[in-house]
Amino acid sequence: MSELVVKNLHVSIEDKEILKGVDLTVRQGEIHAIMGPNGTGKSTLAYTLMGHPAYTVTEGEVWFKGQNVLEMEADARSRLGLFLAFQYPVAIPGVTVANFLRTALNARRRAANPEDKGVPIPEFRKTLKEKMELLKMDSGFAGRYLNDGFSGGEKKRAEILQLATLKPDIAILDETDSGLDIDALRIVSEGVNALSGPALGVLVITHYQRLLNYIKPQFVHIMLGGRIVESGGPDLALHLEEHGYDWVREKYEEATP
């Protein structure tokens, strides 16, 4: 079973420290949620784990499948089994969803076997069709340019489509609920639930509790001022819904200037 282990992670962006010592372990098969007010470093954690070049790790370690993730480029992390569903997926004009996914799949196959000739087209079509049906996507979607002119809901569905196709061991969902109406939220959540199981670990990052009505975490963490300050079970999320973040702030404010 693979696990993602984050130890005392400190991260700066343009010399400003955002993460101030994060400790977290996510195993395959587990669902974790990180909650917290805006600006506490949730997205920084997501981007850093995926290897965005704008974020500088100043201290700490990240291990995944026994490998030092911090020494790897984003593409190597992905091929190792990490996935990030972006809060703001990026448009790639001129590159169709199908072409992109096939390129991504083939990159994985080639990394495993340099002689690989790539996924056979019929097999790829079948996989793609299956996954798109799971997410209730129109078949014309595969021929559209990736995230180019997509609605908010389409973008998030496209992220989950990628998750379904690339089959990572650990998926980080960064504010996947933002910009979604209730129907889209249900479709996206059902997609994630259909994919979760013993083979997939999920780290849900969210500002609001509402996503957790659909995706049920076993572990809930509260992030504040660049640290995880509270960890608990599902009841912690419910507590937050009832009482907001004020009590957390009061409890930890001095510790996080």
């Binding site: 995926m50 290897g51 965005h52 070049p53 704008a54 480029e73 984003a74 593409d75 992390r77 992905s78 091929r79 996935f83 990030l84 972006f86 997926p89 990026v90 448009a91 790639i92 004009p93 001129g94 590159v95 072409n99 992109f100 390129t103 991504a104 990159a107 994985r108 990394a111 340019y145 990628q162 690339l166």
Partner: protein
């Protein structure tokens, strides 16, 4: 005793911006054929015109002072026998499973081959020397009608000194199903390859014609000067694909002009990936009512390549449509200039003109200048233009990498995506594939 300093004034000193003249232009004209009078006149024009300098607007961004004019000579007869042969890949059909005909122009020689069924229908597709012998009236009627020697030093040079070229004539109402293909293979260091292409689709005719110019990379400079004249008759329809993949040592100058008559249609595709320096004038005249022309260009420069493209869309008649889209990527220290003009003549009402140039600059050292222009002398028209110069953004690359796609492939995917809108305008799988290979090669090279 004091001596007064002597002041010498030399009034005849050449301006520094002007290059010297080519040495071969003192030679006799290459062919004693039907075009001899035309060549003699063009040679006079050539002698009269100065070498272009950066003082002229059209040449402001392309400096010829580095052109080693004295180093070039015309290929002798049969010189191709001692030079690298045309790679088999270039002879393969690009746009279909087979050719309707193929003309191969080599240094000091040529060969032409055309489907006998087409010959029976009156289609002429042959090299210029043969055409001068067998169809003297036709070549004299066409040569210099669209690209005039007076258009510039290199137009005059190509008109006077072309050793070879192509004549394509499709008679009234004839449809040529299989594409016609010609290739100018300009191997040979120090050689000046000079070509003249003549195309005429008579009323109601239709054809697809692919013309390629190419050479291997060689150590020392060589050059090409070309004149390309395309006439699309009333209600005729031509798909014309022009591909340039000269070696990196080649100085390339072309004047191309197409005239589309009433109800005719020209789909003109232009691809450029080679040469050391290219200066191209491409002009389309929508001469008759309802004529339409589409110009789709793609290019990819790298290293120290310099590509300077002048385009002009002339609307001379009412209800004419032109649509130009040129897209290119630049790497290394390469440079690209596009200067486009839409001209609408008085009385050419209800015309619709469009031009856009999009550039993707992939390295710090590369530079693109994109200069659109409109000159509209009619009042009921719709003309629009756009020009952009962008670069590779970090966010799309990170996004692609986060899906396991390595950096180089991610860059390549973004570049391919950039070209996709122009590839969509090219209905030929073979042309697209060829260009994708070039993108791939240039992207992975340093």
């Amino acid at each position: 005793m004091e001596e007064k300093p002597r002041v010498v004034v030399t009034r005849s000193r050449r301006p520094e911006t002007a290059a010297q003249d080519f040495s071969f232009t003192a030679d006799t004209l290459p062919v004693d054929g039907a075009l001899m009078d035309f060549r003699l006149r063009a040679r006079e024009t050539y002698r009269r015109l100065p070498m272009p300098s950066t003082a002229e607007e059209a040449w402001r961004r392309t400096d010829l002072r580095g052109l080693p004019v004295g180093a070039f000579r015309l290929p002798a007869t049969d010189s191709y026998r001692d030079l690298p042969p045309v790679p088999a890949g270039l002879l393969k059909p690009l746009v279909s499973s087979q050719h309707g005909g193929q003309v191969v122009l080599l240094p000091g020689g040529s060969r032409a081959d055309v489907d006998p069924a087409l010959v029976k229908q009156g289609v002429i597709f042959t090299d210029l020397r043969t055409a001068e012998r067998e169809h003297p009236d036709l070549v004299t009627q066409l040569a210099g009608e669209l690209v005039r020697p007076e258009d510039g030093k290199f137009a005059a040079l190509a008109s006077a000194f072309s050793q070879d070229g192509v004549l394509l004539y499709v008679p009234k109402g004839v449809t040529v199903e299989q594409p016609l293909h010609s290739i100018l293979w300009g191997a040979g260091p120090g050689l000046a390859h000079i070509s003249h292409i003549l195309v005429w689709l008579d009323e109601g005719a239709s054809a697809t014609y692919v013309h390629e110019t190419a050479s291997p990379d060689e150590g020392s400079a060589s050059m090409h000067a070309g004149s390309l004249e395309v006439r699309v008759g009333n209600d005729a329809s031509l798909k014309f694909v022009e591909l340039q993949s000269w070696g990196k040592h080649v100085w390339n100058f072309t004047h191309a002009r197409a005239q589309v008559e009433r109800g005719g249609n020209l789909d003109w595709i232009f691809g450029a990936v080679g040469s050391k320096l290219t200066k191209t004038f491409a002009e389309i005249d929508l001469a008759g009512e309802g004529a339409s022309g589409r110009m789709s260009g793609f290019y990819f420069t790298d290293g120290s390549q310099h590509l300077d493209l002048d385009t002009q869309q002339n609307h001379h008649a009412p209800h004419t449509t032109s649509d130009l889209l040129y897209k290119g990527a630049l790497k290394g220290d390469s440079r690209m200039v596009w200067q486009g003009m839409i001209y609408v003549a008085p009385g050419a009402q209800k015309t619709d003109g469009y031009q856009a140039n999009r550039n993707l600059v992939l390295s710090k050292g590369a530079r693109a200048d994109s200069i659109p222009g409109l000159e509209i002398l009619a009042d009921d028209v719709r003309c629009t233009h756009g020009a952009t110069v962008g670069k590779l953004e970090e966010e799309p690359l990170f996004y692609l990498k986060s899906r396991g796609i390595p950096q180089v492939e991610a860059e390549q995917l973004v570049v391919e995506g950039f070209f996709d809108p122009i590839m969509q305008r090219i209905p030929f799988e073979g042309v697209r594939e060829r260009f994708e290979q070039v993108i791939h090669r240039k992207m992975i090279a340093g």
